[in-house]
């Protein structure tokens, strides 16, 4: 595939790894924000290609992982109602709620459908005027314009049976919260390439300045991540803290104007709770008052549901980059993708799932030994 294969090519990746080794003179901790980057790092072993001095810390960039437990319970409550067609991206289906997950609702007879685009949910609403079609609008800024467009179109077409359960979060406030945490060891940041494709890079300038942290907008393939790390380390070694763009083939300084416009039209900034982290001011998007008719929480009266997390689940610490999955006592034993304690083990962007899937190794092939979890 063009624009994918060349960025996965082994030789180019190794050349960047060597370039990083050449410029590194001191230990540095770099956080990659986006779950897609975490996935690539763990899947392709990118952290293992880096010099020992560089540690990669996995950030909170997994919208599935940070959807609060009570929001999942609200989704389940709505999906279980007769007459509702509940539409969701695939990732959310196995996220554990307090008692079950959306897949369990489907198994119990609920009409839960996996969709690829919010426009699919819109089409379902038009095709099923006697049913209420509810779309689980989860995501970061990358997905926000698509979600906003579906609501905007629903209003423009006069649909009365299309609703959204909103769980939109925005990245910069979460980054600031993490960087200002007392235990933060983050020296440099790889910002999310597709989030910045939408929003541009301006919001990160004050963050780089305030916390003295270089921020490199980075793509998602091995070569992208390695070049992003290289650019970040080069700044760290020089003592600078600027915003740079590795993913310039897609992300531009001003982002995507049309996308930002539709986000502003439909959504407003609100406080949001991040599962495992807590409430962060101005860190989410909610429907503007003019679009209240499309708010599933209002229509179904599930606004006051609240829930308690599993005491054992460390996903909050993992999302803040304070712990790595293998350091969790439940990792791989009481918590697996089949029986997850938290969202980071379920979502394919979650650090725990990535480690479980890609990072357990045995000794050299030919000698089967006990399963080892490599703690990086």
């Amino acid at each position: 595939m063009k624009y994918v294969d060349e960025y996965r090519e082994a030789r180019a990746a190794r050349r960047f790894a060597r370039a990083i080794a050449r410029v590194t003179t001191r230990p540095w901790q770099i956080m990659e924000v986006c779950g897609g980057q975490t996935h690539a790092i763990v899947r392709f072993g990118i952290d293992q290609m880096l010099p020992r001095e560089i540690t990669l810390i996995h950030g909170p960039g997994c919208p599935v992982c940070v959807t609060p437990l009570e929001t999942v319970d609200k989704a389940i409550a709505i999906a279980a109602r007769a007459g509702v067609i509940f539409c969701s991206f695939g990732d959310m289906l196995r996220v554990p709620g307090s008692e079950r997950d959306l897949l369990g609702v489907k198994a119990g007879g609920g009409d839960v459908r996996v969709i690829y685009s919010p426009l699919d949910a819109l089409a379902l609403a038009e095709a099923n005027p006697d049913r209420e079609v509810v779309f689980f609008a989860v995501g970061f800024e990358t997905t926000a314009p698509a979600n906003a467009m579906a609501v905007y179109e629903a209003r423009r077409r006069g649909l009365r049976n299309f609703l959204v359960l909103v769980s939109q979060v925005i990245v910069p406030p979460a980054i600031a919260a993490i960087l200002s945490g007392p235990d933060s060891r983050v020296n440099g940041l790889l910002a999310a390439g597709h989030v910045c494709t939408i929003m541009g890079m301006d919001e990160y300038v004050p963050i780089a300045e305030r916390y003295g942290v270089p921020i490199v907008v980075t793509g998602f393939e091995p070569v992208d991540v390695l070049q992003g790390v290289y650019m970040c380390v080069r700044q760290l070694e020089q003592g600078s803290a600027r915003v740079e763009n590795q993913y310039s083939r897609s992300a531009r300084t001003d982002g995507n104007r049309e996308a930002r416009r539709i986000i502003g039209e439909v959504f407003e900034v609100v406080p949001r709770k991040w599962r495992g982290i807590g409430e962060i001011d101005s860190s989410g998007l909610g429907l503007r008052a003019e679009y209240a008719d499309f708010d599933a929480e209002l229509r179904f009266g599930v606004g006051t549901l609240s829930a308690e997390e599993s005491a054992e689940c460390l996903s909050g610490l993992i999302l803040q980059g304070l712990k790595k999955p293998p350091e969790c006592p439940a990792f791989g034993t009481r918590c697996t993708p089949e029986r997850p304690l938290g969202a980071t083990m379920v979502s394919s962007e979650g650090a725990c799932a990535a480690y479980f899937r890609y990072r357990r190794t045995v000794m050299a092939s030919g000698r089967a030994g006990a399963l080892k979890t490599s703690v990086v």
């Binding site: 599935v64 990732d91 289906l93 997905t143 394919s348 190794t361 092939s365 089967a368």
Partner: protein
């Protein structure tokens, strides 16, 4: 599914054939060694690029026989039909089965049909059972040895992606077709040319990773493969990127892995290349030591990872 097998069915019916845990049971009746197998086909949608449930029902069972090294001979077919199923649809399926049976060299000799109420079946379910003439030598997980070479008969993922392309809600256009095909011809060629085949398994639901895991578990060995050796055609790779699927876990219906003694690997590759359905065989890995049944894959950038048995279907991801 596997735990249901282990916890309920195997203990209830324990015998030497079930213990062999292979696709077919091989038993002696008088002087003859007979292979016997059954499978039920519930694929949805019923029709997909490259085939339909009827074709699958014939080739799938034929292949279960072939994987035990048995020449497929006779099939039975049991149909569960939902009331209201259009006759025209059934006619197409039956025609497919006739064509497939002819291609596989088998005869459909007995069958049954039941009609259930609307809403109780996904329009059509088909069970086929098959009988074949077993080879003289046992071909099953029990014969897998450390050091055996693992050969894959072709590229992976076509069937699963072809199905996805016509599934409601995730549809996309592609020229891709299911790789659904009968596998007796390459198996027969291997046996005729005296290749020392220890075990074979056709890749079905759960893909290459599942087949390797099952054999590793049943044989009690570790397996190591090189991911770069597993061929994936571009549209399958692209579809997997789009849907967030791992090609190693995507379903196939016309591919198999053969575990052969290392000295015969080259001969096996040679033989397989001469058959249309296995024209691009590749060595993908080796069997490791007895002990923990771990399947490990070496990635493109030299990084190892464990391939687990996944339960349930991979959910297409978006985020």
């Amino acid at each position: 599914m596997r735990s249901l097998l282990e916890r309920l069915f195997l203990p209830a019916f324990a015998n030497q054939w079930l213990d062999a845990r292979h696709d077919s049971a091989v038993m002696r009746i008088g002087a003859e060694r007979i292979a016997f197998t059954t499978d039920t086909y519930v694929v949805s949608p019923l029709f997909f690029p490259g085939g339909d449930i009827g074709k699958l029902a014939v080739f799938g069972t034929v292949n279960d026989l072939a994987m035990a090294g048995a020449r497929p001979l006779y099939l039975s077919a049991g149909f569960i039909l939902e009331e209201g199923l259009p006759l025209a649809m059934l006619e197409i399926i039956v025609a497919s089965m006739r064509e497939a049976a002819a291609a596989a060299g088998v005869e459909l000799v007995t069958g049954d049909t039941k009609v259930v109420d609307r809403g109780k079946g996904d329009a059509v379910f088909i069970n086929t059972a098959g009988i074949g003439a077993a080879a003289d030598v046992e071909i099953s997980p029990r014969r897998v040895q450390p050091g055996d070479v693992i050969i894959l008969s072709g590229d992976v993922g076509r069937h699963g992606i072809a199905i996805m392309s016509v599934r409601k809600g995730l549809s996309f256009e592609t020229a891709l077709e299911s790789d659904c095909a009968p596998l007796w011809q390459p198996v027969s060629a291997l046996l005729q040319k005296g290749v020392d085949v220890h075990c074979m398994r056709d890749l079905t639901r759960g893909g290459l990773a599942s087949a390797l895991n099952e054999i590793a578990l049943d044989a009690g060995v570790a397996i190591a493969i090189d991911e770069s050796a597993v061929a994936v055609c571009e549209p399958v790779a692209a579809a997997c990127e789009l849907l967030g699927l791992d090609p190693l876990y995507v379903a196939n219906e016309g591919r198999f892995v053969a575990f052969v003694t290392a000295e015969h690997a080259d001969r096996a590759l040679d033989v397989l290349s001469g058959c249309t359905v296995s024209a691009q065989p590749r060595v993908i890995g080796t069997v490791g030591a007895r002990g923990d049944a771990i399947v490990e894959a070496l990635g493109a950038l030299g990084n190892p990872r464990i391939l687990d048995l996944l339960s349930g279907e991979q959910l297409p991801r978006i985020c």
